[in-house]
Structures are given as C-alpha cells and as structure tokens.
Amino acid sequence: MSKILAQPAAAAPRARALAWHRVNRVQERLLGYALIIPIALLILLLIAYPFFNAIWLSLTEKMVGYPAHFVGLRNYVALWESARFRIVAWNSVVYTVGSIGAKVVIGLAMAAALQKAARGNQLLRGFLLLPWVIPTVVIALTWRWLLDLYRGLVNVGLHDLGIIGSGIHWLGNPDLAMLSVIMANVWRGFPFFGVSFLAAMQTVPQDLYDAASVDGASAWQQFWRISLPSIKGVVAIVTLLSTIWTLNDFNIVYIMTRGGPGAATHIFATYSYELGIQSQRWGMAMAASMYSLPVIALLIVFVVRYLHREESAS
C-alpha cells in the first residue's frame, strides 16, 4: 500500500523537472531567434533584397524612371552578341587573373620574408600594411599622377635616369593601361595577402623547420615543402575573397582611365555604371554585372569542396 501511495508522490517532482526542461528549451530557442532576428533583418534588407532585386531587374527592360517590363534573358543575349561587351568580359578576366596572380606571389614573398623574427619586423609589418588602409580613391588618384605622361614621377624619373627618351604612355597605350590598373590594384591588395599568409605560416610548428634544417633542406625547399602546403587552406580562402572583390572592382579603373583608352580597361563594374547611370538602362546594367556571378559561384563551390577534402584528409 505504501509503495503504491509513494509512487505518485515521487513521480510529481520528476514530471515537474521534465516540464521545466521542456519550457527552458523552448525559451532558449526563442531567445536564440530573438538574438539573430536583427542581423537576419539586416542581411535580408541590405544584401538579400538588393541581390534578388538586381537579378529581377536584369531580366527586365528597365530604364530609369520607367516601370520594369519582363524580357527574360534578352539582356544577357544582347550583351553576349555585343563585341564591346565581349571586350569588357575579357578585360575583367585579364584584370582579375593578373591582379590575383601578382598578389599571391608578392603576398607569399612578403610573408616568407617577415616570418623570421627580426628587429624592426613589427615596424616593417605595419609599414607594409599602409596600402591596405589608405582609401582606394587616394590610391587611384596617386597612381594616376605617378603615371601621367608629362608630369608623372615614373616618367620623369626614368627620363632623368636616361632610361627613356620620351614619356611612356602608361594610361594611353591599351596594353600598358591594363598593366597600370593592375599595378594599382596589386599595390592596394598585396598587404591583405601578406598578412594573412604570415599569420598562417606562424601556426606551422617550428619543429618541422628544425627537422628540415637538420636534413639539409634549403630555405626555398623549406618554403616549398613545409610552409606552402601548410597554408594551402588560407591561400585558397584569401584568393577566393580577393577574386570576388577584384571582379567587382570599380574605383581604380574608373578614376585612372574611365575604362579607356577606348574600351581597353573597361571591366564589368565600370561598364555596368556606364549603362546604368549614363545611359539610364538599369536592366542591361544589372545583366552586365550579373555575368560574373556564375564564375564566382563556381569558385566558391570549388574552394569549399577543396577545403572539405583537405579537412577530411587531415
């Protein structure tokens, strides 16, 4: 009898505890949602909405001030059939590949050089970060001045050293103009690569380098066989991020050359600006800027899969 009477009395606290846990979990979940709602709203309003709106506009014949009419893929087809746009697409590839390639090489060299703890290294690291912190507009204007045909420091310096007889057309020759904007882009962006690679290199155990030294490995061999493989993941991520930024770059080209001479340095962003603001053709402008999207998406997928593979392998 006492056992039967005892069971309900013992079960009540347990049931209360279970109920309390259930309520607590629900409250925690609600709190979690409440905490992420502000940021989710921000992402929705400032990123998701403009992004999907841009995709929608790219499928319309939207001119400024007029309502948008759906035309499907007509803008994309018209762009692809335009010789000028094909030049723009090619320029964007050259600009991006050229800039990223140079930044990777310079970034690795910078990281390798700074990796050794040495006096003044902290000061040097700070100094090398300067291009990254200076506003892009200032960088573009400065490079424009440096490469001016008549008064640019580069031409004046080369002339005074007797290396050239007359000014080089840095911003006028189509090939040199592309090289010039790439140089400005590389100068701005290499610190990001260098600092990221350096941080990654500093997590590599010193024992590996010591062992390699004992085995007679040269500095280059240590770099190639220890440092580089150890930081592959960081190289992949940094390269991916910079590729996205460079494909969408606007300031440097617009300020230095306005996409000229002719269309020699026109890239997606500057061409999209010309279409959208000067010609008031928003639908076409959005389509022009969307052309880089599949490339970026593929790159992201590729890099993410590569990183997963590496993580699984390790």
Partner: protein, 431 residues
C-alpha cells in the same frame, strides 16, 4: 510588484511619443535647390548668395546641393527612382528632355514668359532643349560654349595663322611637332567627357553627318560623310603622332591641365581656362588665344552641349515658391550680376544680355558668336531622350576610339556606331 515595470514601460513610451511629436509652431518653408559646381568658384558663390537672397524674399530657406559634370546623373538617377527630385533642379542640356518625357517636370511656360519680359527673347537655338510639344519644361540659365584654345606664340613661331578648319589644325600641329616645340600639340581627347563628345558632334555636323531629320526622326548616319570626318581627325593619333594616346584617358580637367602646363597647343574647352589663367596670373595667359571651333565642308555647325537649365520637378511640394525662386534668380539684376561674375563662362540665352557690353571684347565676341551659332543636342531636330542617350552612351567618341585604339577601319566604326544609334532610336522613338 508586477504592475510597476508595466507602468514604467508605459510612461516611457508616452514620454518618447510626446518628445517625438513636432512642436506646435508655424512650419518653416524649406526649398531644395541642386546646381552644377562649375570650374568658376566666384560665380558659384554669387549664385548661392543670389539663391539665398531670393529665398528670403519669398519667406523661405533654401538648401543648396551641388554636383559636378561627372556625378550629375548619378545624383539625378537616384532621385528619379526614389521620387525625391529637388524643388528646383539645374539640369544639363539633355536633362529636360529626359525628365519631361517621364512627366516629372512642371510646365514653366509662364515662367519663361516672365523671364523673357526682363531679359528679352529666348535665342531660337536654346528652345530645342527645353520646349516640347509647344510647352516649356525648363528655363534656360546659361550656356558654356566649347571654343578652340590655341597657343598663339607657337603658331607665330611656325609662321601659321589661326586655323579655321579641322585640316588646318592638323597641318599646324604637324609643323609645331616638326619644329620640336611640342611632342603632342593636338589636344583633342575624343574621350568620355564633354571635351570628347561635344567636338565629336561639331565635327560630324560640320561634315554634314547628322543622323536625324528636322523632326528628330532617325534617318541613319550618312556613312560617306562620317567616314570623311573620321579620316580627318584620327591621323593625329595614328600617323602624324601629334596627339598622345594618354589624351584618350583624360578626365574632364585633363586637357585644361595639359594646356596650362604648356604641353599642348590646341584643345577644345569652355572659357574656364581663361579664368584659371587670369586668377593665377599664369605665365601663359598672354600666349593663350581662342577662336570658334573649326568648320567643315557643310559649314560651321557647332554643338551647344553645355547648356544649364532651371526646372521645377513635380516631386516638389512647394511648386509656387519654387517657381518664384527661379523667377527671382533669373531677374535682370540678379542674372546680370551672375553673368558678369562668371569670367565669361556663363553665356546668357536671352537676347538682351547677349548684346550686353560685357561681351564687347576680343574673347567675349568669340564666345558670344559661338553660342549664337550653336546647335542643340539632337540637331537638326529637337533634343529628345534618344538624342540624349546617343551622347551619354558615348557612341560618337567610341566611334573615334574604335579606329584609334582598336584599329578598325573608319567604315566599320561608322557602321557599328550607326547600328547603336538606330537601336537607341528604335527603343526611344521621338514623340
């Protein structure tokens, strides 16, 4: 105990609402005015002071925002889409056509009538940019003519007279280069600024290569004439080497800087170079001369691209006050003060002031004559949205650079340009 936090919250909400409510007082009348930031700061100051004085007269406050030639359409595009155009908008030569076509500008025919009474008749070549369907949708403010700047000292050294034709400019540039006086004397940029597309229009029109008829309907770019025009100017880059490729990448002030640095002998520009040289007592001022842009076989058909106009967008809530403000700014005394403080940059488009003594000097006569002979964008038709887009899409300057940079034949470049122009006119037929 539970009631206390609720009471505190309620009181806080009520206090916040009360604080946020506007106080009970007479509403201040505020007007917004957007204007071009010119290369003549003293003139800008006069205009701002005038606008403020005029606003006080009508019992309002005016907030002035500025834009440059480069960022004008960035600003206006955002405002058009968000329906936040200012109360008073200073628009360029294609602005009234674009916005009137959208139904975003008020009819200001009565305002033009008021201004006409004080300043005289409107110049006929100024109507095309502001009058549509028999009604005025903007009040012409002033024109900045593009004139040919040249170094008279260098011409004297090579024994040349100031050129009156495009071929003449080529010949003298070649002489200057041959004499070792300058490496690249011919500063015609054919770039994506007004210094590019204004002379491009003047060039084509002077060879009879207009692409519309008098009604503004597309008739096609006369290929032979356009090719002939291109073949006259592109050798400066390709064979004569009297122009540097870098000129193609100049910004709006690139040619100004190069001329004042003594690097080029010829360049098209507004009168602002004269102001810059005068105000800095520049050593080249005595050697700087101006003349009208060259003529071609079809005559001298000069483009009047830089015309600024006052418009009253329908977005504004204070239409009556906005119109009063424009009427005051364009009153005789106020406009005369602006004109005479502009270092000959602001050329009036109303008859009485065109004949003013202010222009009665060697430079002034050239400037006035240029405006009198100027043709509006879209000539020989009116300024239409399609004509506006031909300019803003850089079709004409791209035609030049296709030959110069991409080395296509002039025939192919003209064919491509014609195709683009046709596509624009098909998409935006004149009403």
């Amino acid at each position: 105990m539970r009631q206390a936090p609720r009471r505190i919250l309620t009181m806080t909400l009520v206090l916040a609402l009360v604080w946020a409510l506007p106080p009970a007082r007479a509403a201040d009348l505020k007007l917004t005015l957007w204007r071009l930031k010119t290369y003549i700061p003293p003139a800008d100051k006069i205009l701002d002071t005038t606008a403020q004085d005029c606003a006080k007269k009508i019992g309002a406050e005016v907030q002035i925002q500025t834009y440059t030639f480069d960022d004008m359409w960035t600003k206006y595009t955002a405002a058009i889409e968000s329906k936040t155009l200012p109360d008073v908008a200073e628009l360029d030569s294609v602005g009234p056509a674009r916005l009137a076509n959208l139904g975003r500008l008020s009819d200001v025919s009565d305002l033009v009538g008021t201004v006409t009474k004080e300043l005289g008749e409107l110049a006929p070549n100024a109507e095309g940019a502001v009058k549509f369907g028999g009604r005025f949708y903007a009040v012409p403010h002033y024109a900045i003519p593009l004139i040919l700047f040249y170094r008279k000292d260098l011409l004297e050294k090579v024994g040349a007279q100031p050129p009156d034709t495009w071929e003449g400019i080529n010949e003298i540039s070649a002489k200057i280069k041959k004499a070792g006086l300058q490496d690249f004397p011919q500063g015609f940029p054919w770039n994506r600024t007004g210094d590019g597309y204004d002379p491009a229009m003047s060039l084509l029109w002077s060879y009879g290569a207009a692409w519309v008829d008098k009604s503004g309907k597309y008739i096609g770019l006369p290929k032979d004439k356009a090719v002939q025009a291109i073949k006259v100017v592109t050798p400066a880059y390709l064979t004569d080497k009297t122009s540097a490729f870098d000129f193609l990448s100049w910004s709006g002030s690139g040619n100004n800087e190069a001329f004042m640095a003594g690097k080029i002998a010829f360049t098209p520009n507004g009168p602002s170079i004269l102001f810059q040289e005068d105000s800095t007592k520049h050593p080249l001022r005595k050697d700087t001369a101006i003349k009208m842009m060259p003529r071609g076989p079809a005559g001298r058909n000069l483009a009047l691209t830089f015309v600024m106009n006052w418009a009253v967008p329908v977005d504004g809530k204070q239409q009556k006050e906005a119109r009063a403000l424009v009427a005051c700014i364009m009153s005789k005394d106020k406009f005369t003060a602006y004109m005479t403080g502009s270092f000959q940059q602001a050329v009036p488009l109303f008859k009485n002031l065109l004949n003013s003594d202010y222009w009665n000097n060697a430079d002034g006569k050239v400037i006035i004559e240029t405006v009198k002979l100027g043709r509006p964008v879209g000539w020989p038709g009116p300024t239409t949205p399609a004509a506006a887009e031909v300019i803003s899409s850089n079709v004409l300057t791209d035609m030049m650079t296709r030959v110069i940079v991409d080395k296509v034949t002039p025939e192919k470049a003209v064919e491509e340009a014609d195709k683009r122009i046709k596509e624009i006119y098909d998409r935006l037929p004149p009403k």
